[in-house]
C-alpha cells in the first residue's frame, strides 16, 4: 500500500482507549518533522507544571521527511516532560523505529492519558490495538521483545519499543528499549511509559512512499551522492571498525575521562588498555549491526561466555557495548575487566535503565559510602566498592526493587539522593541529569549545563574542547560556537538524520535531498533560521517548567580535577553561562 501523506499524526488516548488521526501539514511544512514538530506537539499536549509521572504527561514520537528515505536517516525523536529533571525530556533512538513509524504511515505518534491495567499498543499501519499486557508486566525488556515477536505480525519491518522492571517501578532514569540493543536512553521515557501502564509498542510498516515521477532521477542522484559520502568518508570507518568505543583510549590519554566518580580525569594505563575499543574488538566483539537504512553498522555486540554452574554449564550472552556506557559503568565504577563491565551492562539493560545515569549514581554512592555518609543500613547490607561487579549488580537490582528508603532515593537520581544524604560536591549531575563521559574543559560543561540532553546529542562541547587545545580563545567564542552547533543540530534531528552522519548532511545538500522527494522551498539560510527557532522553543519549554541558568547547581568536583585545559574555574564557567543566557535572550 502506498501512503500519500506522511504528515499524519496518530493520537492515542490510553485513558479512553481511543485513537484518532489528524493531518498536521501545518506543523510538518513549517518545522520539517522530528525535534521541530515534537516540541510543537509537546507545547500543545503538555500543560504547564504537571507531574511528569501523571496521566497528564504526553509522549511524542516523531520522524521526519528524510526518515527511511536516505542513508543514515534512521532515528526517531521522543519528547515528553522528564521525570528526572522536571523539564524537557528528549531522547533519540534508531533501530527500526523510524522506518516502522514512517511506513506505518505516520509522521508522529502522540500518547496521552494512562491505562488502568497494563497494556501494550500494537500499531500495524492503520490497524491499532490496545492489548492486555498483564502477563508480560514484570518481565525483562529482552524477554518482552521475544514474546511480542512471536505473537505480533510484521517480522523484519517492525519496531518493538518496551520497558523493563525499572520503567514499571518508575525509576526516574528508566529507559525504553528498542530492538533489544537500542534505547531511548536518557531522561526517563521508560518511567513515563511505566506511569501510563504502557509496557510496549509494536509498530509495523505496511506502506511505502511513491516518489514524484519528475524527481526520480534527482532522488537517485542525491541518494547515491549521500551514500558515497557516508560510505567513503572517515565517518563510516570510525563508527564501523571499533565503533564509538574507538576513542576511549585517546580520551583517557589526554586526561579527559572521568574515572571513579571523577577522582581523576584519567584511569591508570592498564585500565585504559583493558577498556579500550581495541581490546573489546579483539576479545569479545561478535557482531556489528546497523539501524534500518543505515550503511554504517556502528552497533557493536559482544559475546560473553560464562559458566553459570560447575559441570560445564555454559551460557553465551550477546551484550551491546559503546563509548558512553564504557565510561559510566566501566571507568566511573572502577571496573578492571571487560567481562565485568559487560556483566553490569547486561543487568542494567534487562531492567531497562539509562546506563549513564545508573553508573554516575552508583559512583556517587560508592564515594559517599567510603566517606561514611551512607552505611550498610542504608544499602541493605551491601558494601559498595570500586570494581566489585557482584555488589554493583545487586545494587542495581535493589534500585529497582527499592527495599529501603535509600534505594527509593537512588531511583530518583543523584541530584535528589545527594540532597538527602549530602555529598553534593561530588554528585555529578547537571540540571538534574547525570553527567556524560567527558571532562575535557569548559565547553563540555557548558554543554551539560545548557544543552537538552548530553554531549554529542546537544552541541558536542567535548569536541570543541579538544579542538581548542593549545589555542587562545574567548568565552564569547566558545558560547557562540556551541550555540551555533546546537542550533544546527535541531535541523539534523528534525529531518531526522543520525548525528553520526552530521558531516554528510550539510546545509548545501539538505535542500537538494528534500527537493528530490518533493519537499520544496528550503534553502540553507531558511534551515539555519529554523534551527534557531526550534532551539528557542525547546529552551522556552525548559524555562516554562522552571529551569534556571542562574541557580543551576554546579558540583565542585569538576573544578578540583585538572581537565586537558588545566583546572576549570567556577567563575569562568558562570561567566560563560551568563553570556549564553544573554545570547539566547530569555530565561
Amino acid at each position: 500500500m502506498q501512503s500519500k501523506d506522511m504528515n499524519r499524526v496518530l493520537y492515542i488516548n490510553l485513558t479512553k482507549r481511543a485513537t484518532s488521526v489528524e493531518r498536521r501539514g501545518d506543523l510538518f511544512d513549517e518545522y520539517l518533522g522530528g525535534t521541530g514538530v515534537a516540541i510543537k506537539l509537546l507545547e500543545e499536549e503538555c500543560p504547564r507544571g504537571i507531574d511528569p509521572l501523571s496521566a497528564d504527561n504526553s509522549i511524542i514520537f516523531a520522524v521526519g521527511p528524510l526518515s527511511a528515505l536516505y542513508p543514515s536517516a534512521s532515528k526517531t525523536v521522543a519528547m515528553f516532560k522528564s521525570p528526572l529533571t522536571g523539564n524537557l525530556g528528549e531522547s533519540h533512538c534508531g533501530g527500526r523505529s523510524a522506518m516502522a513509524i514512517k511506513f506505518a504511515g505516520y509522521g508522529a505518534i502522540v500518547i496521552k492519558g494512562a491505562s488502568d491495567i497494563p497494556v501494550y499498543l500494537a500499531i500495524h499501519g492503520d490497524d491499532i490495538h490496545f492489548r492486555d499486557a498483564s502477563s508480560i508486566w514484570g518481565v525483562e525488556a529482552q524477554t518482552v521483545g521475544r514474546i511480542l515477536r512471536e505473537v505480533e505480525p510484521g517480522s523484519g519491518v517492525r519496531s518493538i519499543i518496551r520497558i523493563g522492571s525499572a520503567g514499571e517501578k518508575q525509576v526516574r532514569y528508566a529507559c525504553a528499549v528498542c530492538e533489544t540493543y537500542r534505547h531511548f536512553g536518557r531522561l526517563g521515557l521508560g518511567a513515563v511509559m511505566g506511569s501510563k501502564n504502557l509496557k510496549a509498542l509494536v509498530i509495523s510498516a505496511d506502506k511505502s512512499l511513491e516518489l514524484p515521477k519528475a524527481k526520480r532521477k534527482d532522488y537517485k542522484k542525491v541518494y547515491d551522492e549521500l551514500q558515497g559520502v557516508v560510505v567513503k568518508t572517515d565517518a563510516m570507518e570510525k563508527y564501523h571498525d571499533l565503533g564509538t568505543a574507538g576513542k576511549i583510549y585517546d580520551l583517557n590519554k589526554i586526561g579527559g575521562m572521568a574515572y571513579k566518580n571523577l577522582e581523576s580525569g584519567q584511569a591508570p594505563e592498564e585500565i585504559a588498555r583493558e577498556l579500550a575499543g581495541e581490546n573489546f574488538a579483539e576479545k569479545v566483539l561478535s557482531r556489528r549491526v546497523s539501524c534500518a537504512h543505515c550503511p554504517v553498522g556502528c552497533i557493536h555486540l559482544a559475546s560473553l561466555r560464562e559458566m553459570y554452574e560447575p559441570g560445564y554449564y555454559f551460557k553465551t550472552s550477546i551484550i551491546p557495548y559503546d563509548n558512553e556506557t564504557i565510561y559510566s559503568l566501566g571507568f566511573m565504577l572502577g571496573m578492571t575487566k571487560v567481562e565485568d563491565y559487560l556483566r553490569l551492562i547486561d543487568v542494567v539493560d534487562r531492567r531497562g535503565m539509562d546506563a549513564i545515569s545508573t553508573g554516575v549514581i552508583l559512583a556517587w554512592a560508592t564515594e559517599a559510602y567510603e566517606k561514611g555518609l551512607i552505611t550498610k543500613e542504608h544499602t541493605d547490607g551491601l558494601e559498595l566498592r570500586w570494581g566489585d561487579v557482584q555488589v554493583y549488580s545487586e545494587a542495581i537490582r535493589k534500585i529497582v526493587r527499592m527495599p529501603t528508603e535509600f534505594y527509593r532515593d537512588l531511583a530518583r537520581g543523584v541530584e535528589h539522593a545527594s540532597s538527602v544524604y549530602g555529598g553534593q560536591d561530588y554528585a555529578l549531575a547537571f540540571g538534574g541529569n547525570e553527567m556524560p563521559e567527558y571532562h575535557t574543559g569548559i565547553a563540555c560543561y557548558l554543554n551539560n549545563l545548557a544543552g537538552a540532553r548530553h554531549s554529542h546529542l546537544d552541541s558536542a562541547g567535548y569536541d570543541l574542547d579538544q579542538k581548542l587545545l593549545g589555542k587562545e580563545f574567548t568565552l564569547e567564542e566558545v558560547v557562540e560556537k556551541l550555540l551555533k552547533e546546537e542550533e544546527w543540530r535541531q535541523i539534523l534531528s528534525s529531518l531526522v538524520v543520525c548525528f553520526f552522519a552530521r558531516k554528510v548532511y550539510t546545509p548545501a545538500v539538505i535542500p537538494k535531498a528534500l527537493d528530490a522527494i518533493g519537499v520544496k522551498g528550503w534553502t540553507s539560510e531558511k534551515l539555519e533560521e529554523l534551527g534557531r527557532e526550534i532551539h528557542r522553543a525547546k529552551m522556552n519549554f525548559k524555562f516554562r517548567e522552571g529551569f534556571n541558568l542562574d541557580t543551576i547547581r554546579i558540583p565542585k568536583r569538576i573544578f578540583e580535577v585538572p581537565t586537558p585545559h588545566g583546572l576549570l574555574k567556577e567563575e569562568e564557567l558562570r561567566k560563560a553561562l551568563a553570556i549564553y543566557k544573554e545570547r539566547i535572550g530569555s530565561g
Binding site: F103, T180, A292, L301
Partner: protein, 121 residues
Amino acid sequence: MECMFACSRRVGRGGFDKSAIFVRSAGGMEHGFVIVVCRACENPPCAKVCPTDALREREGGGVILDEDKCIGCGNCAEACIMGAIFWDDEKNKPIVCKYCGNCTNYCVHDVISLVEAEAGA
C-alpha cells in the same frame, strides 16, 4: 536493509513493499540476520505450480513473470519454501527477483553479490 530499499528505489518507491529481497533477524538481533532472496533454483517450484504459465524459467537462472498471464492465485508464493516470492498487494501479483544486481551495489559490508553460477554446481 540497504538492499531492500535499493530494490524498491528501482520502481521509484521509498520503502520496501516492491522489494524482491528481504532482511529479517533470525529470531531477534542477537542471532544475526537472514537475507531472503531468490536463489535461482534449478527446476523452480514456483514456475512448476503456475497454472497459467505466467512464470517461466529465466535463462541464466531465476524466473520471469508475464504479468498479463498472471491471475494472482498465489500458488508460486506458497510453493517457494524459501519465502523468496514476495507479493505486490496493489497489483495482486508476485514480485520476483530480476537479477539486476542493484541491491548488491548498496551492500557495503560485502554480504551479498551477484555471481554467475554454473548449472548443477
